[in-house]
Symmetry: D3
Subunit: 235 residues, 6 copies
Amino acid sequence: MKIAIIVPITGLTEEDMEHRRKLAEATVQRGTKVEFLKVGKGPPSIESRYEEELAAEGILQKVKEAERRGDDAVIIWCMGDPALGAARELVRIPVIGPGETAMMLAHTLAGKFSVITPLGGMMMQIEEQVRKIGLSDSLASVHALGIRVLELRRDMNKTKRLVVEASREAMEKHGAAAVVLHCLGMGGLAREVQEVVGIPVIDPATTSLKFAEMLVELGLSQSKATYPKPPKETD
Amino acid sequence: MKIAIIVPITGLTEEDMEHRRKLAEATVQRGTKVEFLKVGKGPPSIESRYEEELAAEGILQKVKEAERRGDDAVIIWCMGDPALGAARELVRIPVIGPGETAMMLAHTLAGKFSVITPLGGMMMQIEEQVRKIGLSDSLASVHALGIRVLELRRDMNKTKRLVVEASREAMEKHGAAAVVLHCLGMGGLAREVQEVVGIPVIDPATTSLKFAEMLVELGLSQSKATYPKPPKETD
Amino acid sequence: MKIAIIVPITGLTEEDMEHRRKLAEATVQRGTKVEFLKVGKGPPSIESRYEEELAAEGILQKVKEAERRGDDAVIIWCMGDPALGAARELVRIPVIGPGETAMMLAHTLAGKFSVITPLGGMMMQIEEQVRKIGLSDSLASVHALGIRVLELRRDMNKTKRLVVEASREAMEKHGAAAVVLHCLGMGGLAREVQEVVGIPVIDPATTSLKFAEMLVELGLSQSKATYPKPPKETD
Amino acid sequence: MKIAIIVPITGLTEEDMEHRRKLAEATVQRGTKVEFLKVGKGPPSIESRYEEELAAEGILQKVKEAERRGDDAVIIWCMGDPALGAARELVRIPVIGPGETAMMLAHTLAGKFSVITPLGGMMMQIEEQVRKIGLSDSLASVHALGIRVLELRRDMNKTKRLVVEASREAMEKHGAAAVVLHCLGMGGLAREVQEVVGIPVIDPATTSLKFAEMLVELGLSQSKATYPKPPKETD
Amino acid sequence: MKIAIIVPITGLTEEDMEHRRKLAEATVQRGTKVEFLKVGKGPPSIESRYEEELAAEGILQKVKEAERRGDDAVIIWCMGDPALGAARELVRIPVIGPGETAMMLAHTLAGKFSVITPLGGMMMQIEEQVRKIGLSDSLASVHALGIRVLELRRDMNKTKRLVVEASREAMEKHGAAAVVLHCLGMGGLAREVQEVVGIPVIDPATTSLKFAEMLVELGLSQSKATYPKPPKETD
Amino acid sequence: MKIAIIVPITGLTEEDMEHRRKLAEATVQRGTKVEFLKVGKGPPSIESRYEEELAAEGILQKVKEAERRGDDAVIIWCMGDPALGAARELVRIPVIGPGETAMMLAHTLAGKFSVITPLGGMMMQIEEQVRKIGLSDSLASVHALGIRVLELRRDMNKTKRLVVEASREAMEKHGAAAVVLHCLGMGGLAREVQEVVGIPVIDPATTSLKFAEMLVELGLSQSKATYPKPPKETD
């Protein structure tokens, strides 16, 4: 099986990319090949609806490319799920949004979850995303760490400490029974935090990879009744 | 007052544009100047989520341009409200989405409304849009005319007849008490249809213009708590 | 265009009325005439569901009178929107409820709003009103100033200070991204408060006037499918 | 125990009143006294929101009177529950709305119910009422018999036949598992219809009486946090 | 009339049982016979979903037995309403769940209520129950006393004090306008607490008994469209 | 990895069991062992809430047994998810409900889905289940085949034909964009039906197995804040 991971931002260091590659390879089963596709054009990082739009065109090109070359599934490697609906229209192979996947999982395991995001400016945008996914009734709260996306991995001890603090506040003040990390840059942190706080902590990176594998093996993909081929597109 | 209307598609004939210009000028009050800004790059028409994404970058450039040159409000002239959230982040002047505006009005006047769209392929996308706007409980049904967007104005008698039929089905089978025309290409039809069917028929073209004027005169705009300036943007 | 404003309470001083008249006249466009119609009978002020009922009959008489004499729209000048549904049944001209109008606008501009009301006793009644309007999911919180309606304008500096404090609490503790002033007696305060707190503050007085103008110019009114003529009424 | 039944309409024949009295007396337990209080002023029947408002003042006077003279509970004998919230503010004794009571019961017994109303013009008004009560998700459909309120009892065989037909349509086409009769004029029909259609048919007349008895015996009444005393009222 | 009360737990002392018997007998009207049926097998108390399942089989046997011997209604004497749906399938006589009944009543009297439960571990389970009943929008909060179920009656002064404290927190911090006691072991406390806190306090014991009497007298029971006879069961 | 599949019914033929075993083994990845655990006591099949309760105790014993002997995950092999919440309290290993899993997947892939169930009597029960899972807004309709559970596999051509017919009705009349097969007895049919109808058809058997594998590999399980250990249970 081949899974394409589309990286929609251009500001990652080679070290960051290397970390993600290793995490991805350690996650999938034997026999699954993972390839990271970097967009030709896109914002350095995505911290607003505006940057989601800037990233869209690059994402959509790579989605088509992935299908053309025979990949079995595509992941749009950003928690806001930019261009997810459009991508699902363009291809028949499953397109996975890590945000949607992580929240569905949190809802299933816990019934009530909180979201932890790097920057405060995205809180209302995340509430919108949860409403779009149809899970507003399960959202306990949204918490911001006050760190820029590209700085998350500078001091991982600090990041982890802040995630633990936010998780505890979510549990104690808002009744959260699970936590969703709302940035792929926090990938790899979930298990450690989970051990400390004792409730499920959902890592969007590993979760979306396993979800992609599951869909491929089940022969399932997005509904073409919901996401029909755009009428001007040819096969 | 100056209102910029951003036309996000490139497939309109000069005649179509002329029709829209006249409709717009006949709608605004004396003293309001309306200017149509055509995007440099964009799809011929928007009939899918994919084409909404293709249109986004052109829209956002024009939104910034409008603010820079001193316009008082901006309308994104497409019922799917493409790039609406991103545009609202970029500027301080009000950005109006005709889809959102028309549906809020239908909800206020009638409590329960149906949407009439040119093509069947957009029905689930419209349900998503209504959910995003927060009005799912007021949506009676979505109806498709089976006409391509750029052909709506070819035979206006046929288009009108189909809109009347769809409106009646919405009323009789689904309990709709108002109808929203989900394409700017149907602009100008609403009053005639309304006279025939006897319930409010919301024209997104005229509605969004008057709504823009209202916001400007009230000194109101989108909330910067909901749509903060993207952190990498400078003023 | 002629807009009738029905004042459903009898306790306003001549000075209060004068203030409202000036505000209204300063709000409408040139060519719009605004006339205040005082009910013959009604409570001194409306601070409960009971007083809403006491006001209803006087309101409905004036609504009919306004249509009979040729007014183009009617505003029921009270945030609780007393007798709004009944009034919409009686006439064909649009009947505007400032409460409904202000909340729809707050929802559109911000997605999440709080309401500021003079007296604590009306908090549950306001939650009921928001549910009736269909916007419960957007309500962040309701705040009371602890001032009686007829005393709001005694010390406008104090009132303004309390509104600012309540707005800040709404933003910081409840995530509000806009504020609705739930009393026509706070009319005129919104712009000043908005400058201080930095999020949209919706003034029901000016908002409902501009909304009325918009409906008239669009040729729109309440749906007669939703608000049919009462069967015993004759035209 | 003494229960006051407020009849908010003036168009009932003496025979109608006699029928209701007998039904009420046959419903309550030994030891409960039921008294019908007719409003001094009110519409002949209530078939619109407008007539609900016309009835309000008369209802509220009788509600106060009932408490003053020592009644233990008050029922507002109309399915639209006119002036219910206001009445609950005015007194400490429980005020029962037959519409609310019947729908809560239908929801509890069946999870999904339909409403049968005399006239088609009230269908949207009933949907509003159900939303206000908070049970929209349980409403399967609303059906109209096409009979005026004051004619319901002219030909009871016809009325019963139409109710059975509407109930069957509700069950077969809309999945209703219970039916609410939305007019006190259908009082007494429920048991017969229930035997024919096989699902619970809720009679607002008997239901509200037993509900009133239950509240009195439990020492329960409306919450004064929700329905506070109007501030200008004295005890 | 004969009402069977099924006690699904085996850990009650004879003194506890005696208290409940007296409370029940003091609650019903003259002519109603109440009989407590203890399950042959079941958990000592119910403090988890697991113990609800352990109790189910014993409950269902007793429900059938009650109908067979001619009882008019059955109450499952536990706030979690264990096996309620299954029991309603098995018999034609009404089966009452104290949890559902108490919450419907709180919703009707107050619009917004809080739940007070002995143990913290049941808080999410109660939220699930409220969602199942369809009243999530009315739930203000859930509070735990930190007492085990079988110890509630050891020190009734302490229990009462804790209930008053929790009620006040529910009112002041969460806007509750009524309180539901979520354990039959708190039966009898409600009136005293209500006098102190001033909002309705719903006692599941007395409430479910009066509700059962009401249903029997109205000739109403659960809908067989919702709760059909299990296909392998014979009459 | 070892996954335990608990078969909660006793009426399956050896042939049926063999079919399920083969399907399961063909579904999991190399290295995953699947073992079917049959309950010692339980109903022949589950076609009602009553039989769900009868199955519960047997299920819970097997769930404990599975954890004790070192299994990594447990699936309760019935679409109604009987005893799911209780089972999740008892153990730390993930407990999967095929109903919940299949519906979450349908929601993610399509936004709007229908459910196909063998018997008409379970339609309201399924609506309850969907509400409990929190996906009511995504449910287009429920369809019954009119076949008893144990007869589903007698004539698989007939069963398949009926499933195709129901799927088409769901799509055309109710706007379904995916279909969930609501019985493990339909396991294996999904792919064939999907090819015919062209929208995702979710097979609960294969879906729940892959979902179980995914959770185990992600190190995720149900939240102990939502499903705490029952206080009387010891580790």
